[in-house]
Symmetry: D3
Subunit: 321 residues, 6 copies
């Protein structure tokens, strides 16, 4: 198996996360039809890595594409979008697909994404090989976004984070958890984490949404997330970290008052949607204490940032809201 991407922290850096020196790693024109490639998900696969990528085409239609990489940095993305077969349901509408997440549970890779079914809701699918994909029932009624599965069952049930939403540029957003015995019927909805008050932590005062698949640590689940502030010149997305209870993840233990990565590089500040850092996936190695976060930058490209898991966890505890 190949090693996950990694660069050590630069010498003069005091931050808990740092950017890959060759960012962005995927260009907006990475495939012939694409206008932008961003907000994408990767996982270890065979001896390398596989992923599901959001590639908006030049008609700015949103769809998800499979891709493969040996080292996790240079990616071969399919030129045709993923074509789903029916999973645990009859085929249902999918006006568009975007912002995928991928996770391996038990025997297969589960994919969730924002699925266009009379507005955005959470689509679910699975694959064994990143070639054949099966589409299941939507998890929820519209409107919803940022559905993120936990990497194992909790108390015998699948668990999913999501962010109830509206059909537009949603000026609100809190993170909820829901459970399912079978990936088909969902219930036991609980509120996990709300947007903060402006005075307490303004960068995340408009909305928050889960990012990569949560990572189990000694302190509980490490959930990286995006937070948004509504400035007079538009939304600004940055990244924070939270710790959820291992067995009752609806219980929030800590969340960072400061952001841990915010838009400050040109490729984050300029693009189709300026000032966006939007984490969607992470590779990690608990033993080596390494974390590599894949994030969409300015809704235009994919970039990479690194951190030490232990350091992020302790930072989260020590700087909790």
């Amino acid at each position: 198996m190949n090693a996950m991407p990694w660069q050590d922290k630069p010498e003069n850096c005091n931050d808990v996360m740092w950017r890959y020196s060759q960012n962005p790693i995927i260009d907006r024109y990475a495939i012939p039809t694409s206008n932008s490639v961003f907000n994408s998900a990767v996982v270890p696969f065979k001896d390398g890595f596989a992923g599901v990528f959001r590639c908006d085409n030049k008609a700015v239609q949103m769809n998800i594409f499979a891709g493969f990489s040996k080292g996790g940095i240079n990616w071969d993305i399919e030129h045709e979008p993923i074509k789903m077969k029916a999973g645990n349901t009859n085929m249902i509408d999918s006006e568009y697909k975007y912002d995928p997440r991928v996770v391996f549970i038990e025997d297969r890779f589960w994919v969730t994404w924002c699925n266009g079914y009379n507005g955005p809701t959470i689509g679910i699918g699975y694959t064994f090989d990143f070639k054949e994909f099966f589409q299941c029932e939507n998890a929820f009624l519209p409107f919803n976004r940022n559905g993120v599965l936990f990497p194992k069952k909790i108390n015998g049930k699948y668990a999913m984070l999501s962010r109830p939403s509206d059909n537009g540029h949603t000026p609100f957003g809190d993170i909820y958890i829901s459970y399912s015995p079978d990936m088909k019927y969902w219930g036991e909805h609980r509120c996990v984490m709300k947007a903060s008050k402006f005075q307490d932590s303004a960068w995340q005062c408009t909305k928050v949404g889960a990012g990569p698949i949560p990572i189990l640590t000694d302190e509980g689940w490490l959930m990286l997330y995006h937070g948004v502030i509504n400035t007079c010149n538009g939304f600004r997305y940055a990244m924070g970290a939270a710790i959820l209870d291992e067995n009752k993840p609806e219980e929030l233990k800590y969340r960072t008052q400061p952001y841990i990565l915010g838009p400050a590089e040109t490729y984050e500040q300029i693009g189709d949607v300026p000032n966006v850092v939007f984490p969607c996936a992470a590779l990690h190695d608990i033993k080596e204490d390494k974390l590599a976060v894949y994030y969409g930058a300015a809704d235009t490209v994919v970039a990479l940032a690194f951190g030490r898991i232990s350091e992020i966890v302790s930072f989260t505890k020590n700087n909790s809201l």
Copy 2:
């Protein structure tokens, strides 16, 4: 058992529904604390009728109250709101409760309502006797309103209509159906009926939501619903009828292009929210071909309207959008 409320159609009336001559049947000050009593649900119970009533108090806090009646017209409403015990869950938050529906399935009366859990969603409870009530899991994530159960399982599962919503005065709204094996986990969400186009049927062009428990007829499920138009002076709510397929109720067979009851009487045109006719419950007698619809008027009082089921069904088929 007492007969359901009834008045024959007035002689000069050409409409498919007609109002009770003594409307409104429940006054805004029906209990000592109430500011308004409206949008309430009734069912046959023992030798008379029982119901769950929305009584907003004079702080305009919303809550639901049990009530009893011999003939379905004069009601004794409890002065204290329903106090729930835990049902299929730990007790969950309920910041407010409003717009109840009640239905008997198998062995008990199920109550659904708009439940305040970080915004409106669908609360579920049950009772055997209208004295002791048990609160179950919320059916859905916020934001949702107008959760209406079918009176029997469909293909072995509970089925619920609902209207995904937002946290305010919601300027949109379509009717969806969801299924559950156990009243706890919900899935198989399908869109049943959308707000119409302005040109096609403007009275229901802003939003639509299910009203009373659907009634099984030879043509399928008769679903009475509210439709809303957004005038320059506010929302106007009227009532329509639709027929859903008996075994696949996500399939809409007919829906009335015209409304069948709209705000035209003073108690419907004036009140806390003018121009509202909002049906929440119906008593019916298939053999006698009678229907009595309970509706909130102007968000202030409860009124009653009558119709012949067969006539409503044929009207719906003959005037379908």
Copy 3:
């Protein structure tokens, strides 16, 4: 020829206009399909009167209907909407028709209305007999409302007032004039009269639009119009009067600072859209110094008000903004 409708001013009345004592003259259910009948136009025709009526049906679809009356008060309205034949164009789309005006010029009756062509604009048609109607080119691009023709050519050209608009509940509106040599091509657009400043005359500070066909008086064209204020509980429509120059009607000579008829009776204050007085037509007799204004009330019914032309003209001069 029958006399126009008339009642003398009540004794204790100090106003320049007064209501017909039997108002409203046309009920919302005047024809079997109607939800409301309002904002309609009448003219002398043969030995009585004819008119074009806005009857929204119970699907709240808007359409226009011919009607006839001997005395101008009791009206027989056709149960089927006007069916247009092609006039000076191929038949064009008409998603809906509402708020008609009618005027006799030279040899025929011209009808203008708000025509649904990708949003509201001004439709034009003509009839000789109120049985056969011919539809011409729309006068303008969308979005426009309240197109009102002058009753004779001015400087050899047809002249039309209109109110550029948007596709919704339009929170603005000024009156313009446009000219045409042929009822097909329009130009020489000039601004005639704007909504006033809040401090100067708040009842007409949100928008103004022409009402009945202008009436030629010694002082110039008497233009009755509606003015709107946006209160915290919706738009309120009242009626004012203005005098335009006879030969250059783009020159406004006077306009009333006070309204001359505002919503104060129950049928004006309650209905599908509360607080609306919307004049669309007037019968007049210069010799007898009589004016009878037909106005929609609360977007629900048609009502009638009377005045002395000379008194209205002098009131307008003496109370000009």
Copy 4:
């Protein structure tokens, strides 16, 4: 001196306030130019009563007028608005004046009102005789409304309640207090009472503003106020009561969770702005334990309601939010 207006509580009334049986006491057309007369202030004066009345004219221009009454119910209102002379300043702009309050302090009657100076702010004036009025400096920068003086100095300074506002239909509003040594310079601004949370007391969840001059009771200052809820069909104004600390009136001791008078009569539910109960003044007699509140109804007329001071105070304590 004449007795203040009074009617005993009706027998079957369980409310803490009750309406005058002949309401409304002042009609919208009370003076020849008026479109509406509402939101007005009265005080004992000589052997009867005097007042300052908001009369919007038929151009819907807002201005204030002096008026006189022997018994406080039938009022002679001047036909010309109050014409101010310069008080403690050069004459300043006043684009409009509305919603007056009047209070006697030390040697004169002080009038405050909403003064149009590049938007609404608090105007101050005084009179000795209700014939000659002197206009002082505006108390605050725009935008502000509902400036209400205390009837005596507190800790040696004048004290004024107000509600910071915006230039439109203000969808927010909390009550502040400010102090002045000289009625010219104001400071020591403190927040007194905020709009409540929706769940706690929805009728006052959008905004609150002080009404009549506070009345000193054994429990502290009795402040009647208006609270507003934003329904889907517009703002609804009702009346509540609060108790402020006698010597530190910025300290709120109690406030009613329920409203004590809400729009339920036709003249409150219908008018230029439906569903408005807006108290602006009160006559009281501590010894006789009588209170008579003058309130604007539907922004159209003036109405009167009565209560027992002691009962209102104890109700406020016992039903406090």
Copy 5:
């Protein structure tokens, strides 16, 4: 006559249009008073080129200026704005002028622009020499923008594309065509092309407007246009292509689902209005199969892009929505 500007397609470029390597060609400070120079129109003139340029001054007042160039790349722009003389009308108001287009028809150069007459509408003028300009009647009532004439009469009439608008940042916009026998009166308004559905082609789902003068090709009129998407951080303008029927240009034959040039270079992504590519003019040579499009970038500068007409036409046919 000088050759039109041209650069061959770069080797590794797969796009149908490519940028000039020295972009931008006109700087924001091109004339002493200018804050920005963009959205401008050029035509062949004598042995070189002339143009009408939008130069907003440092007060951000909008006006149009004549300019001249030998090769079409380096421009001499007059330092004083164009001063109009009366054309086919009395001089009419012009509060501002922006976004000009220029076309030669028969004997003269016609200029259209967005003319401030109580809001934006389409101004028309002509010149023979780019020194003396004559202003005609406005084509339409307000509100309108992007009036673009066809380069020859169609069926004996002048034809103009335009985009009905509102008075602000217009969140909608479809392209219409209108005809005129005389450049004074306009009629026969038809809808040509609407903003697309979000799912079909999101880059043009908010509004579309005609760009350069249409070019006659074997397939019909080639109309380049701008399309807009409303992102959460503002409007993004890109360029598409459409083919209209030669003799009935209201008939749309093809339109590109993908954009053909979108903001991706720094000078397009940053400036007074980020993310704007706004084509206003094109030079072309049918024989040489060359097209040079002048477009405003970021509402700040003028840039140039090239393409092969035949390739754009076939791309439009093969990638039509």
Copy 6:
């Protein structure tokens, strides 16, 4: 005493102000906790300079920090925010502090800032040494921003400019002046300067607010200010200059129709809030005719621009709106 920062005008520069060649002078990460450092105030202090800096931390909480510099370009900013002691009041709430101004009057340095007290209002404090700070009464009720003191009493009273505001991204804003005998009670509020009309000077048509402390010149007070235009992609802030009467500063003598510094450099066009030039302080030397303006750029960094006072004054007179 050290000389103030200075660079001579570049040779090819025709503008009245020019940027420091090493801009920005303070980076967003200038102190360990900062996300951005901008909108800050400096004054001569001892033999160098002191200042109060707005440093938003990485939770995007706003606070003000003291700083010191020898030459006015390189700054040592404290790592802990200013901790206030009670001044002329009990300690009052301060949810946040931002956008400080500093001025020396008589015996001390007065600091004003935007103070969070139930929304933004003007906080006042003073210091003698930039180590110990004392907080006084807020000047005004909420909502207000940009409180700027004059550097000496005017007619015996303190004078302050401010911009009444709302609680969000305020789409309006005019400059007012208020007076106080004692820095505690404020009155004599007068409007000084309004946002301009769009046609007259669009860069300042949305709002205007005072910037640095006014500078007394022979022509009156030189007030630099920010003006804002609301583009379709957000607010754009630029800088203008105005002259106020020396003894009656509520009298505006001149104001620049053009801006004198607008966002055109990358650090002004990109950042947390793109396109912002926001002046907060100035150092000046009347004898040497030098002015150095400190301004926030893109709400992210601090930059510096220079000008000749005499030239700015004459430019303002010669280019007045």
